[in-house]
């Protein structure tokens, strides 16, 4: 639940009963909204594939989920910001560094927005980016392996909400502060009174450069801004390629009871930022170097190991001095979504408390800037005149507009939280042409390719904030509710409900044809350069380094080498480095050992993963394979003997009857 304040009350008081009980333009009950051929349109026969991947934020689960469309079937949950004991993500020695931050190990985050990589503004199927809102981070997921390859922490930030939206060629991902905070000249967060918000609190937006080939991220520059709440953002397209747009609320700069105090002004702002100009200023040395601390975590496919590096510097640009990089546009009222249409000419603001949807014109923005058509300044930053930049307003579209997606046929689809509906309108004429109810209280919505220059259209998916009675009840805590609508005709048609995990915020959908042909099946064992790999059973071994015992172990259907280990003593730390020797698709092996204080390992073909195990008592302890691998899977087990501290049991290992003495130390 994102809008826990005002909206929830309004929703409960007005929207739900009206959807459920009142007659009129809304259907009597949800069932009557579904037409006869809906089942046919979402049925994907056994063994057939879905047409689209739906990459969906896992919200407060911290993960990303992957569904098929139109079936709504869940394929996978990709661990990103949260530890996942099922695969060992964030538990294995190789992946623990991925969750490192300047605050130390942070094993959870609140993941909000998916951004799929684009080239020339169109999906290229290479990477998915997602933001961590709580401890500001951006993650990059590799769409060949469906694994998180990189996580970068954002310094000078708090509440990384307007993120990780991209420029057209994936030059940059952005980040912005939803929660401004005190920032002094040294960029540290000084000890000042909270009520000094207006004097001391600042916001920033950050541009994270992305390497064209490797996807590797780095913080290129940051822009220092007034202490607003930066909410959502979108990159320009085509003519507006060089620009980025951010919605800002709490321009009242309230620091308490924002529900009331940040809802005072009739208009807040949408910020237009020229990132190309910023680049030039950075190149010309106009930025200030700032000392910061942030973690940059990279997973290396060759060594199958993540490293975390602490970085210490960013470059800050100040628009008070660099006058032509940032402009504010008045936007009614507490804007949330800030969405750019496929042509790049129109920017739609969605004022959560507004009775209209303002649509801004990029060409008018350019003209107003050239003519210096300003109504004033805020904190030294020019504010453009509303009428000078407005294409027009969609009048009385609904209550509580949040987000807008596009179908590429000249129509926009806006989600309305309070009135619980999707409204379709014509971008040029600003006329509402259709509306459908959602069940209940929609947040984000997604059209395949909807934020790109080339929407694929066909469907719109509603990600709802309230589930209530849509599924069999499961106590007070319910699954999340998504809905699929057919938009191929003039009228939107409800086809399907499907449950989702976490609280799904934003999602994107992409044709399967852009992903499936390059989906990784196995990791080649020859290319595995994990320092503890066993390339074949002959390389399996056990060796001691002080109190650390390393077990370089192999798995293949269906045995471990070694499977009998002796000579471990109390006080030792045991590292099981398990290599899966299989080279066939979908033959993972699992590894679990009794009393492990972390998790299991799930090791893909050709991969090496490491589990640390600290024995807490003397005795013989079993380990086994957790993933049913063959007819003899139940035979896939082994023993490790733990002797008392100071005993002289020799360190040995074996499989079958051959006992190998270890070389004592490496």
């Amino acid at each position: 639940m994102k809008y826990k304040h005002l909206f929830l009350l309004i929703a409960a008081a007005i929207a739900l009963p009206s959807v459920l009980t009142t007659p009129g333009c809304k259907p009597h009950n949800p069932v009557s909204a579904v037409e006869g051929d809906a089942a046919e349109k979402v049925y994907v026969a056994p063994g057939k594939y879905d047409e689209f991947y739906n990459i969906v934020s896992g919200g407060f689960s911290g993960q990303v989920s992957v569904y098929g469309l139109p079936s709504g079937r869940l394929f996978r949950v990709i661990p990103v910001f949260s530890q996942n004991p099922e695969s060992g993500w964030g538990f294995s020695e190789e992946t623990k560094p991925m969750l490192n931050t300047s605050h130390g190990f942070v094993p959870w985050d609140d993941a909000h927005h998916i951004a799929l990589s684009t080239t020339n503004g169109e999906h290229d199927g290479r990477w998915a980016f997602i933001n961590g809102n709580n401890t500001p981070r951006i993650a990059r997921i590799n769409l060949s392996t469906f694994r998180t390859d990189e996580i970068i922490e954002i310094p000078n930030s708090s509440g990384n909400h307007s993120s990780p939206f991209l420029t057209e060629n994936t030059e940059y991902a952005v980040a912005g502060t939803r929660f401004s905070y005190p920032m002094d000249d040294d960029n540290s967060n000084p000890d000042v009174g909270i009520s000094t918000y207006k004097q001391n609190f600042k916001g920033t937006v950050s541009f994270i450069g992305i390497d064209k080939e490797s996807g590797r991220m780095g913080i290129s520059f940051q822009v220092l801004l007034p202490g607003f709440n930066f909410d959502l953002s979108r990159g320009g397209k085509g003519p507006s390629h060089d620009w980025f747009f951010f919605s800002c609320y709490n321009t009242e700069q309230a620091n308490t009871l924002l529900e009331v105090n940040a809802s005072q002004k009739d208009k807040d702002y949408i910020m237009a930022l020229n990132w190309k100009k910023c680049e030039e200023y950075v190149k010309a040395g106009k930025g200030k170097k700032m000392k910061v601390n942030y973690a940059h975590n990279v997973y290396d496919e060759k060594t199958q190991t993540a490293t975390s590096t602490l970085e210490h510097e960013t470059i800050m640009l100040d628009p008070k001095e660099l006058k032509d990089i940032v402009y504010f546009m008045p936007c009614p009222k507490s804007p949330h979504g800030c969405d750019v249409d496929p042509s790049g000419e129109f920017i739609c603001g969605s004022g959560k408390l507004a009775a209209v949807i303002p649509v801004f014109s990029f060409s008018k923005i350019q003209k107003a800037i050239a003519d210096k058509n300003f109504e004033g300044e805020f904190d030294g930053i020019p504010v453009l005149k509303y009428d000078a930049v407005l294409h027009g307003e969609v009048k009385k579209p609904g209550l509580g507009p949040l987000h807008t997606e596009f179908d590429g046929k000249g129509f926009a689809y806006t989600s309305f939280f309070v009135s619980s509906e999707i409204v379709k309108w014509n971008i040029q004429t600003l006329e509402v042409v259709d509306r459908v109810p959602t069940y209940y209280s929609i947040g984000h919505l997604c059209i395949p390719g909807g934020p790109t220059r080339k929407p694929w259209g066909k469907y719109v998916i509603a990600y709802n904030k309230i589930t209530k009675d849509r599924y069999l009840p499961t106590g007070p805590e319910l699954t999340q509710s998504a809905q699929l609508y057919d938009i191929s005709g003039d009228k939107m048609k409800l086809l399907l409900d499907f449950p989702t995990i976490g609280e799904p915020h934003y999602a994107e959908a992409i044709p399967a044809s852009l992903i499936t042909p390059k989906s990784t099946k196995i990791f080649k064992i020859e290319d595995n350069f994990n320092p503890y790999v066993s390339k074949g059973e002959k390389q399996a071994k056990v060796f001691r380094e002080g109190n650390k015992v390393h077990v370089n172990m192999t798995t293949i259907r269906s045995h471990f080498v070694p499977d009998n280990i002796e000579g471990v003593k109390m006080g030792d730390e045991v590292y099981f480095h398990v290599t899966n020797l299989e080279q066939d698709w979908d033959v993972p092996h699992g590894f679990a050992v009794k009393g492990a204080n972390n998790s299991e390992l799930l090791i893909m073909p050709g991969e090496t993963s490491t589990l640390k195990w600290v024995p807490d008592r003397v005795g013989v302890v079993a380990f086994y394979c957790t993933d049913f691998c063959s007819a003899l899977h139940q035979e896939m087990q082994g023993y490790i003997r733990v002797s008392p501290r100071g005993s002289n049991t020799a360190l040995t290992f074996s499989t079958g009857n051959k006992v190998e003495p270890t070389g004592a130390t490496k």
Binding site: G47, K48, Y49, E51, P448, T516, G536, I556
Partner: protein, 159 residues
Amino acid sequence: MQSNMFGKTTFIAAVLMLAVFACTSKKEADDAAKKSPSPTDLASAQPEVHGTEVKSIELTTPLNKDWVTTGRATYDLKCQACHKLTDEKLVGPGWLGVTKRREPVWIINMITNVEMMLEKDPEAQKLLELCLVRMPNQNLTQDDARKIIEFMRSNDGVK
């Protein structure tokens, strides 16, 4: 070497897709859907090495020493976990005498095209009944497999 088979599956997939579109009578079938690969496409269009049937291979003497060395290295990495070099069965049969018991084409197809063999070949099926573990596809090329055969011949005493 895979072009034949791939061509056929693509053709079948195309026919299937036409049929699907015909019965749902979609006027504007999306580009996306047209390009969307079928399960058979996906299974064969992957970089994973996966077999077409090998019809014949040529054996020569004396053995190619380099191949024996490379074959041995591949054995250590990908085969040794299940096959001993004696006649003792581990997960699969021991290799001693294998080049005398089996035709070289049979061996190479077991290595590079095990799914086909387990489906069609009675001898392969008998072995599955005996061992109860499907021989894994270890992602070996025909070239890798040929070198393994050279190593097997050397293990069987061929000079």
